[in-house]
Structures are given as structure tokens and as C-alpha cells.
């Protein structure tokens, strides 16, 4: 596995591929967005690398110039601020009617995301392309995320039904910190280097 990790900005040609990857990793969340699949992916594309969003600091894993994975994260103290930044980006990209239609479902989804430990580094998104699974891409992305986290623990939310991801995180040393009806909050202490 030869993975090249790069940053991205919203104008880069990888943004569309990354948006599609992230959409497919968490369709439960992104299907709250208005429109059909391609409109939703377009909206995610605006969030990826977008200033102040939860996907601003995205790291893209590429293999032979193909996007095979991506993650985005930030210090947990920025969680609320970036949630707001993402919502503002969405609100100004869709109609007022569409906002009103998605609002309640999205709010109820967000209310289940328990507060993340403030001293942690929050892994907001991580995704591996279906065709690239089973080859250690996720583990490499996680290792890169741990570098960003530095001396801080990593925290993340995972949907209860996402058993493959939960098993992956447990193997990687994450344990459950909290849970709600739909989500688990997992955490991992920094590893001695």
C-alpha cells in the first residue's frame, strides 16, 4: 500500500471525489440534506475544505492519483463552531423551503451526538472507498489522524448500525465513552511514540 496524503481546498479537482466518498460513508447523515444524490454530493463538495465547516481540514489519501480515502478532524473545542459553520454553508446553499424541511430531522440527529471531551481531537469524518477496503487504508488514515491529534486523545461518533466501523475502531484501541439511541461516542488515548 502506497498511500499519498494531501490536504485539499474546495477548488481542487479532488473535491468531488472526496465529497462522493464521504457521502457514501455516512448516507444516514447526508440523506438529511435536500435534493437527490448528486445535489447532496454537490452540497458536501462545498463543505469539503470550506472555511469554518467541519470538513475544512480534510486529508485525502490517494493511490496512483486515485482518491481512496479521506478524513477530517479538528480540536474538540471547535466542534460547536464548526457545526455552525457547516449549517451556515448549507443554509445559504439551499432554498428556505428546503431548509425548513430538513431542519427538524437534522436537529434531532445532531441532538444525539453527545458532547465530545473538550481536551480531545475530534475525528469528524473518515471514509475509505469501497474498492480500496481491506488493504489497510483506514488504518493508515487513522495513523495520520493520530499525528494531527498529537498528545490529545481522539474522539469520534459512530452510528450503532455501522458494525464494520465499530469493529475497526475497537481493533484500533478505541473504547466506548458514551452512547445514545443511535450513536456511540468512542475515544482513544494518545499512544506513546
Amino acid at each position: 500500500l502506497t498511500l499519498t496524503l494531501t490536504g485539499i481546498d474546495a477548488l481542487s479537482r479532488d473535491a468531488a471525489a472526496v465529497a462522493q466518498l464521504l457521502y457514501e460513508a455516512t448516507p444516514k447523515f447526508f440523506d438529511l440534506l435536500p435534493g437527490d444524490r448528486s445535489e447532496r454530493i454537490d452540497l458536501i463538495r462545498k463543505l469539503v475544505g470550506g472555511r469554518g465547516t467541519d470538513m475544512e481540514q480534510v486529508v485525502v489519501g490517494k493511490e496512483a492519483d486515485h482518491v481512496v480515502g479521506a478524513f477530517a478532524g479538528f480540536p474538540a473545542t471547535e466542534h460547536k463552531k464548526r457545526e455552525l459553520g457547516s449549517l451556515m454553508m448549507i443554509a445559504r446553499s439551499i432554498s428556505h423551503e428546503a431548509w425548513n424541511r430538513m431542519k427538524e430531522a437534522a436537529r434531532s440527529y445532531a441532538s444525539e451526538l453527545t458532547a465530545v471531551p473538550s481536551e480531545s481531537w475530534y475525528l469528524a469524518r473518515i471514509a475509505v472507498a469501497p474498492a480500496a477496503r481491506g488493504r489497510g487504508v483506514g488504518a493508515e488514515l487513522l495513523a495520520a489522524a493520530a499525528v494531527s491529534a498529537g498528545a490529545r486523545p481522539i474522539s469520534l461518533h459512530v452510528h450503532r448500525t455501522n458494525s464494520g466501523a465499530i469493529a475497526f475502531y475497537r481493533r484500533a484501541g478505541f473504547r466506548e465513552l458514551e452512547s445514545t439511541a443511535s450513536f456511540l461516542l468512542l475515544g482513544r488515548e494518545p499512544r506513546p511514540s
Partner: protein, 84 residues
């Protein structure tokens, strides 16, 4: 529109939420994030921004700013006044 008028509009739009949170206009820290204070959630805050822009007939490019700059009462007044 001057800053005092903008402040009135901001406080008016927040008054029921401040009351609900048990905070008065005088004692609230004007520089503290309204979301962090629990006065408003991020969904309602986005709507508040849209309503204030409509009521004050101003347009702010919030994506050019950091939420730190406008999620407090003073920050809101500042960015909305500068835009009008």
C-alpha cells in the same frame, strides 16, 4: 442604521430565549458565544442570522467570518452594523 439600533434589534430577537435561559440583557456577557451559553442552538442561530439580515435589510457574508466573530451579542451587533 447605527449600532444602537442594531443592538436593539438583536436583543429584541433574542429576548424570549434570554428569558428562557434565565439571563437578563444586563448580566449576560456580551462577548460570550450564545451557543456556548446555551441560549440558542446552532440551527436556530442560523435562522436568527437570516431573520436579522432580512429585518435590517443587510447582507453579511458570514462564510468570510469565523463564528467566533459573530456568535456573541457584541459580535452580532458589530458585523450587522458594519454591513449596514
Amino acid at each position: 442604521m447605527n449600532a444602537a439600533e442594531v443592538r436593539d434589534a438583536v436583543l429584541r430577537s433574542l429576548s424570549s430565549r434570554l428569558k428562557k435561559a434565565g439571563l437578563s440583557e444586563d448580566e449576560i456577557d456580551g462577548d460570550a458565544s450564545l451557543i456556548a451559553l446555551g441560549v440558542i442552538d446552532s440551527f436556530s442561530f442560523v435562522e436568527l442570522l437570516m431573520d436579522l439580515q432580512r429585518d435590517l435589510s443587510v447582507e453579511v457574508d458570514f462564510m468570510e467570518l469565523s463564528p467566533d466573530d459573530f456568535s456573541s451579542i457584541n459580535g452580532l451587533v458589530r458585523v450587522l452594523s458594519e454591513a449596514s
